[in-house]
């Protein structure tokens, strides 16, 4: 078991409602085959170089797939300066330089070297505003991850969650490591169920500011928001279709909680389920053809699947206990959900073909799991030391990470999509 702890203050805050966050991150477990890698601090602006190296190292360590090897001795910055015999313990080596451009932006020029074959794997420039060292670091970590594992990296993606402190509920968007928090909405009423638009530019969510559950859509670029559904009773559980042109929501205006489809502008509202009991927490398949949802139509809360075009729902979960909050994996072959039995919530996945449930956690108060967009990690809310915290587990269950916010209780996390570069 390895445990790393980092205490770093978020470096850039660009919201109208700035949020200061310090996090403690713990990592437990390791992938089966960890790639030994050395991240050599970049040449150039020393402060910037150090920040970037810290972010890259922390990102790679969090994935569980890399073993960070300390760079010591004379540090190379160009391929010609690398004495490969001195790097016998590593498979890969990151070198390069960073400078502030005339326009004020920071530009990192990086090279990833194969220390075994003694060849260059990757050479690239990454730039951002000079106060966004973290963004540069995440991007470099993504490039390394993609080159060495073959999967897309998710370090540059963002997550959304609710931070509750007493009565105050803050809807937050942050980097996938929990830093760089931006407040999207602050209210003294509960906020629930944030849902990313497929382009990552908007959040749909449920807020009780009007003394009942109302679904809003808010732009992360302009902070402008619109009401998607405000019928009598409860309006909730928004989720976007992959094409961004439709959302599924849950309304109680006609019956008990039932699933409806609606356009982002509130138009073309149509009812999809007629179960009579509770149907909620819809989630679209990656191809947009099916919905998974939670229903108690069989007498207890279980997960069902039905075609978006309408038709019969098929029960998916049969394990003892109750099952909630289904989310498709990005490849559509499985889903993750919250499994409740014997007084504990577990993060679980189930393959559509084998229909076997796999528990990814030891159990506790673990809710609202969602896949990272590359399908390799699951983000969820849990509790530790009497507080609500964020946690991730690799989709094979081997690597676990817990992220403690400085204050407040974290609820309702959800992992955002890949952002177009």
């Amino acid at each position: 078991m390895k445990a790393f702890q980092y205490f770093v203050f978020s470096l850039f805050l660009c919201s109208a409602l700035p949020a200061h966050a310090a996090l403690t991150i713990e990592i437990m477990g390791a992938g089966e085959n960890q790639i030994p890698i050395a991240i050599v601090p970049l040449a150039g602006d020393a402060k910037l170089a150090l920040s970037i190296a810290e972010v890259v190292s922390a990102d790679l360590a969090r994935s569980g797939l890399f073993r960070l090897v300390e760079a010591a001795g004379k540090l190379p910055h160009e391929p010609s300066e690398v004495v490969y015999d001195e790097w016998a313990g590593v498979d890969a080596l990151l070198i390069g330089s960073v400078k502030i451009l005339p326009d004020g932006r920071a530009e990192a020029k990086i090279r990833l070297l194969d220390a075994v074959k003694r060849t260059e794997l990757l050479g690239q420039k990454v730039s951002a505003k000079s106060d966004q060292a973290r963004a540069i670091g995440h991007r470099i970590a993504d490039l390394i991850y993609e080159k060495l594992t073959g999967d897309a990296g998710v370090f540059s993606t963002r997550i959304a969650y609710v931070n509750r402190q007493g009565k105050a509920n803050r809807l937050v968007v942050a980097d996938s490591d929990g830093y760089g928090e931006q407040s999207v909405r602050l209210t003294n009423e509960p906020i629930m169920s944030p849902a990313w638009s497929p382009d990552g530019k908007q959040l749909a969510y449920v807020s009780f500011e009007q003394k009942h559950a109302v679904v809003y859509i808010q732009s992360l670029l302009t902070n402008q928001r619109t009401i998607l559904a405000n019928f009598k009773g409860s309006n909730s559980a928004p989720t976007w279709a992959p094409d961004g042109k439709t959302l599924a929501i849950v309304l109680t205006r006609d019956d008990s909680s039932q699933i409806y489809l609606v356009q982002p502008d509130g138009g073309n509202l149509r009812r999809l389920t007629f179960g009579g009991g509770i149907d909620t927490e819809p989630n679209f398949s990656p191809d947009g053809q099916y919905l998974l949802f939670t229903s108690n139509r069989g007498g207890s809360a279980q997960i069902y699947r039905m075609p978006v075009a309408g038709g019969a729902a098929q029960r998916q979960t049969f394990e003892g206990g109750n099952n909630f909050s289904p989310r498709y994996s990005p490849d559509g072959k499985s889903f993750v959900f919250a499994h409740f039995s014997s007084g504990k919530f577990y993060v679980a996945t189930q393959d559509f073909q084998s229909k076997q449930m796999q528990l990814l956690s030891e159990g506790g108060w673990e809710k609202k799991p969602s896949f990272s967009p590359n399908g390799r990690l699951v983000l969820f809310a849990t509790e530790a030391q009497g507080r609500g915290i964020l946690a991730t587990v690799s989709s094979d269950g081997r690597v676990k990470q817990r992220m403690f916010p400085q204050d407040g209780d974290i609820r309702e996390p959800t992992w955002g999509p890949f952002l177009k570069q």
Partner: protein, 172 residues
């Protein structure tokens, strides 16, 4: 569809009234209680006097109307048999006081997802509303909402807290 259901509910109620069947013990108690309470509170015949002060049964701690919270078993949303008389009393009060409005808020314990619990709380609140309407209150007097598990009255992972949180509150 919704209007049809309401119409059917109303029709059933009207038939029940018209036939004056002494259907059950709860129904049987209607005349006595309303004789005590409803006329004095809704005394539109004497607008200048103030006989309602201190007489409004809503403020009488001995009245069933003083019970403003109903509790539920896990995952249950039907008004419990033990609470039916209380709900009937509120229904009679609302029927006798058409100017009064009530907001029924459903809540749930934390065992379940936040969304499932929101749905469960809404069913609890809507179940109370249905019973109030059957008991004579007008639908327009009643607003329902759910807070799910979002506003727990008691905090903690245990039945002591959970039993407090599986609840519908009747707020005038």
């Amino acid at each position: 569809m919704k209007n049809l259901v309401i119409a059917m509910v109303l029709a059933t109620f009207l038939v029940a009234c018209a036939s004056k069947k002494p259907v059950s013990s709860t129904d049987g108690s209607v005349p006595e209680k309303s004789a005590e309470t409803a006329p004095s509170t809704d005394s539109s015949s004497s607008p200048t006097s103030t006989p309602t002060v201190g007489v409004d049964p809503l403020n009488d701690p001995k009245s069933l109307l003083a019970t403003r919270s109903l509790y539920y078993p896990l995952d249950g949303y039907a008004v419990q048999a033990a609470d039916e008389e209380t709900v009937q009393e509120h229904a009679k009060y609302l029927a006798a006081n058409p100017g009064r409005k009530i907001r029924v808020e459903g809540n749930a314990d934390e065992r379940g997802s936040t969304e499932y619990n929101l749905a469960l709380g809404q069913r609890r609140a809507d179940g109370v509303k249905k019973m109030l309407v059957l008991g004579g209150a007008k639908s327009s007097q009643i607003e329902t909402a759910s807070y799910g598990e979002e506003k727990p009255k008691a905090v903690g992972h245990g039945e002591a807290a959970w039993s407090q949180n599986r609840r519908a509150d009747l707020n005038y």
